[in-house]
């Protein structure tokens, strides 16, 4: 017997939880919360530090959660995560290229002539180069995996492995060339952190996130059909090739920019869809929105933990998600007798 909670109730509950969490978490922080005697500093902390950070955590978590659900549906593989299409490794390469080679690109000379441009570059070149790296890598992977008869998911995985190790090799060569400060910067980027959150970053990320959602949500029916296999999805009249393109584009748009901004945040993309399906069943009409909401909820709390564990210092949130995500994943595995029940 299978009994499922009503999709409406699931979304409603998650939505309410997210709103309550966001409001509650807003009162938590190293500064404490002093609404009664709000000075301009507490106001500043809430308006300019916590709120943008919470907003960033929500769209980052949502992007990773929903991308994970799309990837696992596209590859019909419970282990699939957004990293499979090369966005993350590409973003890592992009940021590394900039961090290591940025200074030798003549930016210092530039700064003397165009201080404004220099200021902009200083702030946005890391995420920008990450995005470029991510999108280029995914594009490369796509062109390799495309055949006359269409896009093969197996080829995507194999190409992804090859491109992944290739980008890792280049990143490795670069880190070998990198000086100590750059190495430390790269290390901190690879651990993932939302500490640099601000409204301008959020405003830049939001259009990517919304575009990705607009691309991804219409895929829910075809993702369900895809669970029957590619052949059955075609037989049901779905535009399967277009679907694969849209799925990859959507995931790249959702994850590439956030990864470039906040660094590598592991396990949300893999664990969240599993957690969701455990409750909702495999229907993507609910798995997609529920994964977005659950991802947002989890990252919000993980980041709160990152902020609160060792004040006034912080722990990179990537460490927290990995430290919580890995045991959660193991627990999920022990709960299911067969691997197939996971998917």
């Amino acid at each position: 017997m299978i009994s499922r909670p009503s999709p409406f109730m699931v979304i409603l509950t998650l939505g309410i939880l997210l709103v309550i969490s966001a409001l509650f978490v807003c009162t938590l922080g190293a500064t404490g919360f002093t609404l009664g005697k709000t000075g301009s500093l507490s106001l500043f902390v809430i308006e300019q530090i916590r709120l943008p950070r919470i907003s960033l955590a929500i769209i980052t978590g949502a992007a990773l959660g929903i991308s994970g659900a799309v990837m696992q549906g596209l590859f019909r593989n419970p282990l699939a995560d957004p990293g499979l299409i090369g966005v993350s490794s590409g973003a890592a390469l992009g940021t590394t290229v900039y961090i290591v080679l940025g200074s030798s690109l003549g930016l210092d000379t530039l700064s003397r002539h165009y201080p404004f441009l220099h200021n902009v570059m200083l702030r946005w070149m890391v995420p920008l180069s990450g995005m470029i790296g991510g999108f280029c890598t995914t594009g490369l992977l796509y062109s390799f995996a495309r055949r006359q008869e269409g896009l093969s998911t197996t080829l995507i995985i194999l190409t992804g492995i090859a491109i992944g190790s290739f980008t890792a090799a280049i990143t490795g060569i670069l880190t070998f060339r990198a000086d100590d400060t750059a190495l430390r910067d790269i290390t901190f980027w690879s651990l993932g952190s939302l500490a640099g959150a601000n409204w301008s970053g959020f405003v830049i990320l939001l259009p990517f996130f919304l575009t990705a959602l607009i691309l991804i949500f219409p895929l829910r029916d075809i993702l369900n059909a895809f669970l029957l296999g590619e052949k059955d999805a075609i037989l049901l009249g779905h535009p399967v090739e277009r679907f694969k393109k849209m799925a990859i584009l959507g995931v790249a748009l959702a994850t590439g920019p956030v990864v470039s901004f906040v660094g590598v945040i592991g396990f949300i993309g893999v664990v969240v869809p599993h957690l969701v399906r455990l409750v909702t069943g495999p229907d993507h009409r609910i798995v997609l929105p529920a994964s977005a909401l659950t991802g947002a909820l989890l990252l919000l709390w993980a980041d709160t933990a990152a902020r609160l564990i060792a004040p006034p210092a912080e722990i990179p949130v990537g460490i927290i998600t990995a430290a919580l995500g890995a045991p959660a994943f193991l627990w999920l595995l022990t709960r299911t007798q067969t691997g197939s029940a996971l998917s």
């Binding site: 017997m1 299978i2 009994s3 019909r76 029916d221 075809i222 369900n224 059909a225 669970l227 029957l228 296999g229 052949k231 059955d232 075609i234 037989l235 049901l236 009249g237 779905h238 535009p239 069943g281 495999p282 229907d283 009409r285 067969t338 197939s340 029940a341 998917s343």
Partner: protein
């Protein structure tokens, strides 16, 4: 509905999977594809379903070239039951069957949908298991759930049964004898309403009992086709399946042939 193969061949590189296939099938018919393993039965079914494009020749569905029909329109015209499904998601039977609704535009109300869903699950004998997880069902039950799903795919859209085509790849493979009869009756019922079915079968007796037209395949080519009495003879079966292992007899009331294994005869004599 009419399905016409005109000199259809299909190769993968130098391998000729099927060659020079020609036949015509009409609404109200059950067409059985028979032949040994590797004779090209599944390839013909995939070609008829539009999953494969012929290397040469033409396939006409309702008199239009199947290659010119959009994937979406094709989905309202034909449904295909594959031999096996790679599904691992823990859908319930009802959830699996209702995936057919999601794929196609329809104007059905909630209660119409519910009614159709119950009817089609009932028709494959899974009414009592409709809320069960697919993974906890037997292979035969899963196969019938998928059968219900593709029946719903055709029933859920507005296209009349007369212009629809059911393609079944060994629908009896995982079923017990009682289910053989149930499923074939179900298909016959569908065809009597005006539909058409092309079925791959291995059991020659069931094929003889239910098929209106049998296509006997051998090494990618049609060896013989026609009504059961014309195709199922000692001579054709002997050359297609190798050793003469059956004795073909005539069932007087229906004039259809039936087969008795040779061993049984030798044991009797």
């Amino acid at each position: 509905m009419s399905l016409i193969f005109e000199n259809v061949s299909y190769h993968i590189k130098e391998h000729n999977l099927v060659g020079e296939i020609s036949f015509t099938a009409h609404a109200g018919q059950i067409i059985a594809l028979l032949g040994p393993n590797g004779a090209g039965k599944s390839t013909i079914l995939d070609l008829a379903g539009g999953l494969k494009t012929p290397t040469s020749g033409k396939i006409l569905l309702n008199n239009s070239d199947i290659g010119t029909i959009s994937a979406y329109k094709l989905a309202t015209m034909r449904a295909l039951l594959a031999q096996e499904s790679p599904l691992t998601a823990p859908f319930s039977v009802t959830e699996l069957v209702s995936l057919a609704f999601q794929s196609l535009d329809h104007t059905l109300t909630m209660s119409q949908k519910k009614h159709l869903l119950e009817e089609v699950i009932n028709s494959v004998g899974l009414a009592e298991k409709s809320t069960r997880n697919m993974q906890t069902l037997s292979g035969g039950e899963r196969q019938r759930a998928h059968l219900a799903r593709i029946l719903l795919q055709l029933a859920a859209n507005n296209r009349p049964t007369e212009s629809q085509l059911l393609l079944l790849d060994e629908p009896l493979s995982a079923q017990d004898p009682a289910q053989h009869l149930m499923i074939l009756s179900l298909i016959r019922h569908y065809v009597r309403k005006g539909g058409m079915a092309v079925i791959i079968l291995h059991d020659l007796n069931w094929a003889s009992a239910f098929a209106d037209h049998i296509i006997l395949l051998h090494q990618g080519h049609i060896y013989a086709q026609g009504p059961p009495g014309h195709v199922l003879t000692n001579a054709t079966l002997g050359s297609v399946f190798g050793l003469p292992s059956f004795l073909v007899k005539q069932h007087k009331p229906t004039n259809r042939p039936y087969l008795i294994p040779h061993d049984m005869l030798s044991g009797l004599s």
